[in-house]
């Protein structure tokens, strides 16, 4: 099955907007404290069947602890977790309908690839023939048929990752937990594997919960992403919403690159907001809603790719403009990022897609430039 064929199916998938949908995993007011340190602080979350859900956050944000509570390796200090309506409190890991793929892969070094994959099935005391058939199916799925008799230390990193994956899905769990599944792979392999994981999840119809600190990974794969910080969810949204409508400066800054322009609200009516800002030497026009009252501090958040850069001042004087000098140019290949020192202090970044081969840049270091952006290109944040 290819990702292309499944694309439209995925796009329509949004059970979290459907009030009649029954979540598969229900996390209610769960906290976990280690001594005086609170790793997870009263979080609630619903995850739906067949969802690809990502827990994203910096290290130490509590995402791994939350996942380990789902697997049963940690006991919540407070709150409850249920899967398919069954409360998991007091159920040990080996009796839970979840399997986990470990960050270190945790392959049994003394067992061959096929023995590793068969391990969970043998624990379930399935008939021998069925185990053999299932192992073969799994090996085929992860394209490791020829490596069945090898020991883990005779495999490459990518192959080990596949064995770990095959082992964790062999029991066909309701929920598969993936702890930084691609963390140990190099960039190229990681990108390929992201799409393979996606296809696999669709084909198997399993619910995947992935823990990652890599925003690209989460954005590419997940149906919804929960951004975590200090043991709490900051925002739970589909990737596009997370990127275009971050709820706070923290999320805006954590996901991708962003310019945050500080100002005070001078006008806020019917979807039209005006910020008085020194950064631009006047005002910032914005569309959208904000809870901020007149005179409140707010930030206009705009992504670098939505900011235009030009050597000439804009013809229309009412458009959002900031002038400055090119301080640095980051050439990334597909795009170039211009770091501009604004005349009124501060810096802004504008990125331009390199649609042609760069022979000579029209805009160069220390050029006087004008940055412009549309009112609906960004969002007004209050925190």
């Amino acid at each position: 099955m290819s990702a292309k064929a499944l694309g439209p199916v995925r796009r329509k998938f949004a059970p979290w907007n459907d009030s009649s949908a029954v979540p598969l995993i229900q996390i209610r007011d769960v906290s976990k404290a280690f001594g005086s340190f609170t790793a997870v602080n009263s979080v609630s979350l619903d995850i739906y069947e067949r969802e690809f859900f990502a827990l994203l956050g910096p290290s130490g944000c509590g995402k791994t602890t939350l996942m380990r509570m789902l697997a049963g390796f940690e006991t919540p200090s407070a709150g409850s977790i249920s899967i398919a309506g069954e409360d998991l409190a007091g159920i040990p890991p080996h009796k839970r309908p979840v399997n986990m793929m470990f960050q270190s892969y945790a392959l049994f070094p003394h067992m061959s690839v096929e023995k590793n994959i068969a391990f969970g099935l043998e624990m379930d005391r399935l008939p021998k023939g069925e185990i053999a058939a299932r192992v073969e199916e799994m090996l085929k799925l992860v394209k490791l048929e020829e490596f069945a008799k090898r020991k883990p230390h005779q495999l490459s990193g990518g192959q080990r990752q596949r064995v770990a994956l095959a082992r964790s899905i062999a029991k066909r769990p309701k929920v598969l937990l993936l702890d930084e599944p691609l963390g140990a792979l190099d960039k190229k392999l990681r990108e390929e594997t992201q799409f393979e994981l996606l296809d696999l999840q669709m084909a198997l119809g399993m619910t995947f919960v992935i823990v990652t600190h890599d925003q690209d990974e989460a954005m590419t794969m997940a149906d919804r992403i929960a951004v975590m910080n200090h043991g709490q969810f900051v925002q739970i949204s589909p990737p596009a919403e997370l990127y275009e409508q971050p709820v706070s400066k923290y999320v805006a800054d954590f996901i991708g690159d962003i310019n945050l322009l500080e100002g005070r609200v001078t006008k806020n009516e019917r979807g039209h907001i005006v910020l008085g800002s020194e950064v631009t030497g006047g005002r910032i026009e914005a569309s959208g809603e904000t809870v901020a009252g007149l005179g409140d501090k707010a930030w206009f958040a705009v992504r670098p790719e939505k900011v235009s850069i030009d050597l000439q001042p804009p013809n229309d004087p009412t458009v959002n403009t900031a002038s400055g000098t090119v301080w640095d140019i980051g050439y990334v290949g597909d795009i170039s990022v211009y770091h501009v020192k604004l005349d009124n202090g501060g810096t802004m970044r504008a990125s331009i897609a390199n649609t042609r081969r760069v022979v000579e840049r029209p805009i160069s270091w220390e050029d006087k430039v004008f940055l412009t952006w549309a009112p609906d290109s960004g969002i007004v944040l209050t925190k």
Binding site: F73, H94, F108, P109, R167
Partner: protein
């Protein structure tokens, strides 16, 4: 031309040092003992013949002397049942105490490896600490504990468990106690170093896939600790077979171990050739477990653990 200080030569010199050490302190003494084991016992100084001195003897006499070497000592090892029973008894005592040791040491090592990280150095220290006292003194201390008027019997009498002192000292039981006590660290430390390295996520993975705690131990922890088990067993078994001090001090007259038999040949009978024969035969017997041990170590290094 060959410059002794060229990189290639220097490397050769570095590897030569351990070989030289082996030749001087192992091979040469080994061949001396081997030669004596083929000699005849004499009441003389030294107490065997022939004694070679090529410079005095010249070719002819040296050849004569070579012809007088004998395999009698080895034939005696086979014919006289005292030797075979000594060997068997030694192997039995060493083997069964190694097995008992495994049962005692494994839980200790496992507990140490599971203990909070900050405790572990202290626990290792406690295992090694007895080594700071002389081995001989520690074995003597057991005499004070095990004798009829010793600490153990007094304590048991005082507690009312026994009416009369029980004889422990000068029995095989005392030898077992002595071996178990003295060699415990040799079993605990290799097991501990193996178990301590074990990745906790392997146990979690086993549980995640449906194993109980006990199941995960037998299917994952124990098989993975086998190199440690083998290392520990041989580190105890090999020296225990040739043990002399413990059976001599704690054992009774009916305790026969090959180390004691050898000592008696050397010092009581002053029969150096027979004692040398006993020693060489012991070496050959132990060669098999030593080779298994070496293969195990090599395999472990290969697996990069």
């Amino acid at each position: 031309m060959a410059n002794p200080f060229q990189a290639q030569n220097r490397r050769w010199m570095v590897t030569a040092i351990p070989y030289l050490w082996m030749v001087v302190f192992f091979l040469v003494p080994f061949f001396i003992v081997l030669k004596i084991s083929f000699s005849n016992s004499e009441i003389a100084q030294p107490p065997y013949s022939p004694v070679f001195d090529f410079l005095i003897d010249g070719w002819d006499e040296t050849l004569d002397k070579l012809a007088s070497l004998t395999t009698d000592n080895y034939l005696r090892l086979i014919q006289d049942s005292i030797y075979s029973s000594s060997y068997l008894s030694s192997l039995w005592i060493a083997g069964s105490s190694t097995a008992m040791m495994l049962f005692i040491a494994y839980p200790i090592a496992y507990g140490m490896a599971r203990a909070p990280k900050s405790w572990r150095p202290t626990l290792v220290m406690m295992v090694i600490l007895p080594f700071w006292t002389s081995f001989l003194i520690r074995v003597y201390a057991w005499i004070a504990i095990l004798s009829e008027e010793g600490l153990l019997n007094s304590a048991l009498t005082w507690l009312g468990v026994i009416d009369e002192p029980i004889q422990i000292l000068s029995t095989n039981t005392a030898v077992y106690i002595g071996i178990l006590y003295s060699y415990l660290p040799f079993m605990v430390l290799p097991l501990y170093s193996n178990l301590e390295k074990m990745d906790d996520s392997l146990i979690e993975a086993a549980k995640d896939l449906g194993c109980t705690q006990i199941g995960a131990f037998w299917r994952v922890t124990f098989p993975l600790s086998l190199p440690g088990v083998i290392a520990g067993c041989f580190l105890v078994f090999i020296p225990a077979v040739g043990e002399f001090v413990i059976p001599d001090l704690l054992g009774g007259s009916d305790t026969i171990m090959i180390g004691k038999t050898m000592w008696e040949e050397f010092f009581n009978n002053r029969d150096w050739p027979a004692a040398s024969g006993v020693a060489i035969a012991l070496l050959i017997i132990l060669m098999i477990p030593i080779m298994i041990f070496q293969t195990n170590e090599a395999r472990q290094q290969e697996a990069g653990r």
